[in-house]
Amino acid sequence: MSDGGRENRREHEKSSGHRKSGVDNFARAIAKIAVAQVCETEGFQAFQQSALETFSDVAVRYIRDVGKTALLYTNLAGRTEVNVFDVIQGLEDLSMGLGFVGASDIDHCLVQSGVVRELLQYVGDSEELPFAYALPQLPIFRDRKQTPSFLQAGVEPPHEHIPSWLPPFPDIQDHVQLPMQENGAKDPQLVEVEHAKDDIKPEQQSSLSVQPLHSAGGLAGPPLVAERNAANLKEAAVTNPYLAAPLYFGEKEVSPAVLPTKLSSEAAVGDHVGQKQVMDGKISALEAFVPGIESIKSGLNDSDEGQMKVFPSQRPPVQFKIRIGKRSFNANPNSSFEHEDCFWWYRFCVTQIQMFMKNLMMHWGF
């Protein structure tokens, strides 16, 4: 009899090509082969793919059910290790549907069970057909190369709070991408750093990774890394302005903010009120907490009784009136508000808020 069914199926499996991961898929494939072998012994010559899959699934479920039921009887008897009698009882349970000789007997000895007799008969009658392939021990685990811990690597963790059973920090090269130059040659700075990196002690490496990318001060240890990172950033800045390093104070020449002349005069108070009202979010705050300023004209003094009167050094000589209840919208769209004015005003408001908060905290003793 030709081996038609199995050959066809195996060819089909090879042609399908897709590899599924997981131990269960491997076990299922083995079950399919075993079931196919048994069917072939019975007389089938070919299989439908779906039929074979269903059949092997049913067989697997059968095995699991036998195990479950046998375990149930074992636990019922107060044991953890399964006995042959538990297995026989499990088999009896599962063949209750079809029935076996002696199923209706209660109190029969398990050794005489019909199931066992049928099995004996089957073993005696059927030919022995071993499984087609040699199998390794299931389940199969892929050997994962685990990163050794600090202890295993023989390295001392850099800081006290890091326990030694944790793995060491990864190499900096792994997570900082080196930009390749167009001509293909690496930056000589980078090449230097890579060579020098081998000399750097592993204790320093972790601290290197923690350093900010552009340390303006520059420590003794990580200037190389900072240099390289700066080189990276310069490269990146050429390509993408958003990735450029932020500027620190004093790094770039910025024109100083010039106070507009009209702000210093009283006549500009009206404008200021208008400006105040334009910036909605700031009005109530300013009105609520403006401390006693020496140049307040109106009789209303909203400063709280217990608060200190702090005069910040940055306070510009502005005079403005506090008007409660009067909110005349006096927007001047045509006024010559320049960008600098708004910026200055915003900064002023922010400073005021900060001073108020500080006062508040000092008053309440935070």
Binding site: I30, A34, F44, Q45, A46, A51, V82, F131
Partner: protein, 140 residues
């Protein structure tokens, strides 16, 4: 009392016989290699919590599974042969073509139904809702 003693002796002897039969069976299992491999059975038994270091029990379960599969296969084979016989009755020309016995979903579901496993299989999947309808309604 004597009778009872005789009876108990008899039963104990039969028990011994049965025990002997079982132990012999388990011993013979070690010689008989079931088609279902041991590793597979151990893997799935382990999944359901079955803990046993004894190989003979695993072999027992393996043989039981093999018998189960063989029974279902033989039932499906009978269904298949019955179908082929009925088909051959209609057209004698196709007698030579249908000699191959193929395990189909149909036969398998019929065989499994007797074992309490309900396997219902879709006959076909339609490409669109109007597939297979009358031409009159399709034209609309």
């Amino acid at each position: 009392m004597n009778n009872h003693h005789g009876q108990s002796q008899q039963s104990s002897e039969s028990k011994h016989d049965d025990d002997a039969a079982l132990t012999d069976f388990l011993a013979s299992l070690m010689e008989y290699t079931p088609t279902v491999p041991d590793e597979l059975v151990e893997h799935y038994l382990g999944k359901s919590g079955f803990q046993c270091p004894d190989v003979r029990l695993t072999r027992l379960v393996a043989v039981a599974t093999q018998k189960f599969v063989a029974d279902i296969a033989s039932d499906a084979l009978q269904h298949c042969k019955a179908r082929q016989a009925s088909v051959v009755k209609d057209k004698r020309d196709k007698q030579q073509k249908d000699k191959r016995l193929i395990l189909t979903m149909d036969d398998l579901s019929k065989a499994l139904r007797e074992y309490g496993v309900n396997v219902k299989h879709q006959e076909y999947f339609a490409d669109s809702p109007s597939a297979g309808l009358d031409t009159a309604s399709r034209d609309e």
